[in-house]
Structures are given as C-alpha cells and as structure tokens.
C-alpha cells in the first residue's frame, strides 16, 4: 500500500514537472529586465518554501515526540529534516547562480542569505548530532530540542525580506503582497512547480521514513540477539 502510494506520488510529480518545464521554456517569454535567467526563480523559491514547510513539520513532530515520547515522531522528524536540507541546498545554490548574473557576485552577507546559510548549518548539525549519539532516548530528546531552536532561524529567514532592507529582492508572491507583483501566467507556473517539488519531497520522505523503520527493526533484532 505504502509502496504504491510512493510510486503514484513520484509519477504525478514527474508528469507535473514535465508539464511545468514545457510551460517555462515554451510558453513563458523571457522577463523584460532579467532575460532568461529569471526562470531559476521557478526552482529557487519553491525549493525554499518546500524546505521551510519541512522544517515546520519537523518542529511539530519534535514537539509531539517531547510530549508523548513516541520514537515514530522522532524518526519522522529526522527524515523530514534530511529532505528539507536537500531543498534548502537547492535554494541556496540556484540563488547564488542567479546572483552571479543579476548582481555580478556569487554571494553577499545580507540578512536573507546569511540566515538561510545559518539554517543549513543548524540542520546539518542536527543530522551530525543524531549520528554522534547512540542512546535512542537521549538522541531523540537532544535532536528535538535542536530542531525547535533551528526553527527560530527559519522564521528569521522567512521574515527577513520584510524586516530588513536587503540586497535580496522583496516579497513578490501573491499570498505575501496581495497580488500585482508577478504576472499571473508566471505565478501559475510558479505554484504548479511548488506543488511538483512538494510531491517530490513527500516521495523522498516516504522512502526515508521506511529506511528509518528498517534501522529501528535492525536495532531491536540486535538487542534480541545480544539478550539471547
């Protein structure tokens, strides 16, 4: 059942991505100021949004672990954070390539970019912490605490373009500005691509979660073998 769901999600994501790529390259014209490079936006911003949604899902799961003590929540949070980290990395790399053309530089220490980099460092630390601790209860408790701490930075990443004057462009998406900053045809493709990336991320989380449960099974069998 779960395998079928994973395959179905992956297939829908692939079809949607093919449709979106077709629209990006063959339907939409180049942007007046930026030319062809603006198309990076269709992956750069949705990847950031998918990453942020993932971090907040992991925050909820970490709080649930700390409240109920169920290991399932902890391993699900770890899976979600690992996948979110991949999308945050896509966000920062594509942003840097876009910046090279538009700003003439690969990187600048403005609020948005720096807080996004700190976010990647915190959640990389989360994954390292999990590898460093063998005792499951201690590992789950400490990593849940780190996840809650890390999500404070996610809020700063999200709001930094409203709170501070940055080199990074301000909000352009309809749900943040109330509309009018982006052409409807472009924003249609943007949201479709966000949906496609969200489906890709969900598929990856499902695969990763199954691996976590296999790892838990191996741990319990090992304990059984040692106890015998």
């Amino acid at each position: 059942m779960r395998e079928r769901l994973t395959i179905s999600l992956a297939a829908i994501a692939a079809l949607l991505l093919a449709n979106n790529l077709h629209a990006m390259f063959l339907s939409l014209p180049d942007e007046a100021m930026q030319g062809a490079i603006y198309r990076i936006l269709f992956f750069h911003a949705p990847a950031a949004m998918v990453g942020m949604i993932g971090y907040f899902v992991a925050l909820t799961l970490s709080i649930m672990y700390l409240s109920f003590g169920t290991f399932k929540y902890d391993s699900l949070a770890a899976s979600v954070i690992e996948v979110s980290l991949v999308f945050s990395l896509v966000n920062i790399v594509t942003g840097s390539i876009w910046a090279r053309i538009i700003w003439g530089i690969w990187w600048t220490w403005d609020y948005r970019l720096t807080s996004a980099l700190v976010c990647i460092l915190i959640f990389s630390g989360y994954l390292m912490l999990r590898r460093a601790i063998d005792e499951p209860t201690q590992r789950a408790r400490l990593s849940s605490a780190l996840c809650i701490f890390g999500c404070v930075d996610v809020v700063i990443v999200w709001k930094s373009i409203e709170w501070f004057r940055n080199q990074h462009p301000g909000p352009v998406l309809d749900f943040r500005t109330g509309g009018g900053r982006m052409d409807p045809a472009m924003s249609h493709v943007f949201y479709l691509n966000f949906l496609a990336l969200l489906l890709v991320a969900t598929t990856l989380v499902l695969i990763r979660t199954r691996q976590e449960s296999t790892a838990r099974e191996i741990d319990s069998l090992r304990r059984l073998a040692h106890a015998a």
């Binding site: 053309i101 990763r208 069998l221």
Partner: protein, 61 residues
C-alpha cells in the same frame, strides 16, 4: 549578455537536479545497505536461536 544569461540558467537547472539526483542515489545506496544488514541480523538471530535449542533441547518457551 544573453548567451551568458542562458548558460547560467542552464547551470542553475543542472545544479538543482544534480543535488536531488545525488540525494536519491545516496538514499538508494543506504536502502541497499540496510536491507543487507537486516538480512545479516535476522540470520544472526536465527543462529542464536538454533544454538539455544541445541544447548537446551527440553526448554519450553
């Protein structure tokens, strides 16, 4: 500028998919390793059980 603009757009798309692809490959490798490890541990548990049965043939439960 336009040619360079297009080239960098291509780099951006390639980088995005390359990162996801590398992660998928790492997931597949990890999955294969876990599957093998599970089989090994299952075999170990089966071995321990048959050893116990050889040592205590009359033990119940």
């Amino acid at each position: 500028m336009d040619a360079r603009n297009f080239t960098y757009m291509f780099y951006g798309f390639t980088a995005a998919w390359l990162i996801v692809l590398l992660y998928v490959i790492s997931l597949a490798r990890r999955g294969a390793r876990l599957k093998k490890e599970l089989e090994d541990v299952k075999q170990l548990v089966r071995g321990e059980r048959s050893n116990q049965e050889d040592l205590f043939p009359n033990r119940v439960g």
